[in-house]
Amino acid sequence: MIKTMALFALSIFMLVACGEAGDAQLEKNASSETEAVESAASETAGNDGLGVGPVKSVTIGALDAAMAKEGEDLFTKNCTACHKIEAKFVGPALAGVTERRKPEWIMNMIMNPEQMVKEDPVAKELLAEFLAPMANQHITEEQARKIVEYFRQVDSK
């Protein structure tokens, strides 16, 4: 009997010991979750609205029509299965996107969607709303810049 009790007590100890470590881990995750939600509320906190990814800074000048045309072709080929300009589809409608988001954010969303929906507060909220994570179509930085130019042209009209 003593034997059994001793073993029982020890097993409890083992569970508690492992459980505590586990809980600590969970709490840590939970707190970082809270932080993320808070920063989402303030929109631009964390990355100044630049998003997360390779694009840190983009220079925007006068609208380049040739570049926008190339951007439109790229958009038609790679994006239109899920995005429309005027209407919400699989993903959000893109009219006005250059007014809502910085060009760096748009390019990072195109080029680095996996990390964006995990780490960028705005992208996280969009995933929660649309549920379909944006597909990575392996667009280069140069191509993404052209797509931004196309969006600028759309928004300028």
Partner: protein
Amino acid sequence: MKTKLFLILALALSIVLTGCDSDGGKGSKAGMVGSNAAEKVYVAPGEHDEFYAFLSGGFSGQVSVYGLPSGRLFKVIPVFSQDGEKGYGYNEETKPMLETSHGFVPWDDSHHPELSQTDGVPDGRFLFINGNNTPRIAKIDLRTFETTEIIEIPNSAGNHSSPFTTENSEYLVAGTRFSIPITETDVSVKEYAAKFQGMLTFVSVSPDEVGDMEIDFQILMPGFDYDLAHSGKGPSHGWTFFTTYNTEKASTMKEVNASQNDKDFIAAVNWKKAQEYVKAGKFHTMPSNYLNNEYSDHTHSATSKKMTSTRVLIPSECPGLVYYLPTPKSPHGVDVDPSGEYIVGNGKLSADLTVHSYSKMIKAIEAKAFEKEIDGIPVLKYDQVVAGVVEKPGLGPLHTEFDGKGYAYTTFFISSEVVKWKLGTWEIVDRIPSYYSVGHLMIPGGDSRKPWGKYLVSLNKITKDRYLPTGPELAHSAQLYDISGDKMELLLDFPTIGEPHYAQAIAADIIKDKSLKYYKLDDNKHPHAVKNEKDTRVERKGNEVHVYLTSIRSHFAPDWVEGVKLGDVVYFHLTNLEQDWDVPHGFAVKGANNAELLVMPGQTETLKWIPKAVGVFPMYCTDFCSALHQEMQGYVRVHPANANVKLSWGLNEVEKQEK
């Protein structure tokens, strides 16, 4: 009582400590409950194996890809058999891969995987494997892990001694295990001895990234059974060795009648000499019907080429082309050591293991030390070519591989063991049982100039009680041994697909970084590809309806089609618009008499569908692709044959109709 309690406490405490092992057991002895073997094969979750191993599927006709040392199965590559899982041999693009001169052959018996080599070392470009039943050799591209070429071997039967590469994959070989009347005609089997012949085929491989296979020449041989082969290396580069049995030329009850002679032969073929004879025009052009099927990564489609003749050399007309090395007794495997000097004849009915010397063979040829000739082929004197004999190593030797450290390892089927012996002294240094009845064995790079002599895999014919029983049919088994020390140590059993004959393995680093992640849509040259939703459409050509559709997470475009009529033959040409790794989409339609499509990112595949009834038939994505995968579905409406309807299709607000 107290002592006992103390012991229990100590034990429980140790469980507590190991139970909470903080680093997840990775690289730590704690948590492995003291099992050294378990630790050696443990590849932690998320970690990669050290070797890729390619195991033949035997009567499954396929190749399976495992990791070593974990024994984890990564992929079954469809090669000679239709595979519903991947649509291989069912979709329109890959059907031509299984075409032969005998028509569509959806199955074979695949035996010997062989990695391409450069300078006698596996280079990770291609894997080749033979089809035994309807003689063929297949090539698998190790960037995509897909079968990209199959060449049929004409004037052949039982393509067993194949493919066994030369040192720079100049050639793959194919020998007839079953001699036949050549040219093929109906002759009484009783006339075997007089009228049946063997054929040794040399298939060239282009040295570029395509690795195009072509039959360069064939050699017409006496009607023995040509069982296995290996090519020379280093000094013996330029030669290929084939074992023979049934030198008795028995045509019936071979179990007894093909086991009469004390010695059969290893045929040594000087293929560089053969090239000279071909160049000098000493060949006969033989009408030969065979197909060469090639798959393109650009069109994502296979095409069959009809071939009509081969160049045949006859040894009696070509002195120095072939010699016979007498070898006891019905030798099975023939294996050349890493130095290229020793040629091991695994005489499966012999009490001893015979090892020939390449340098002695050359001297014997120069000295014309012949005991006789058979059909113009000199038989060298046994004592002039033998290097040594491993005495009484076991019962039923089949195959030998090498560790690159001066040792050879031979399998013994009857005594069910692997025996390690020393090259040069021929002494036996270790033996270990296999469970049960081992056939082939494989050391990574073990038939090359530079083996990775760390592990050995035995490929066993009988499993019996090793796993939970699964009715009368049991999994075949592979066993992993550690051969890094003096003594071999059994580490792991793992079940295999079909029957593994031979296998090959290569350091993972050579292949893994070259592995393709997706096909570029821009490079897609499939004639029925559509590269954006705007171009999706449905077209009628008589009673053929072609649906050009696309997939992306998570919808098809179009996702409804109406206007198909009973009697129509529908072709769904599906292009997967995804441009990311690990996002295939599947496609299935109710009542299809073939299989699904499984379309890789950037690829186009076609499913043929003949509806049998009027109604509305769902189609859907079969490969879970996103949170909205269950929504990835659509409908095809089938009208009566005489309905006066036009084709229409659409997606969401887009709706189109044929003109």
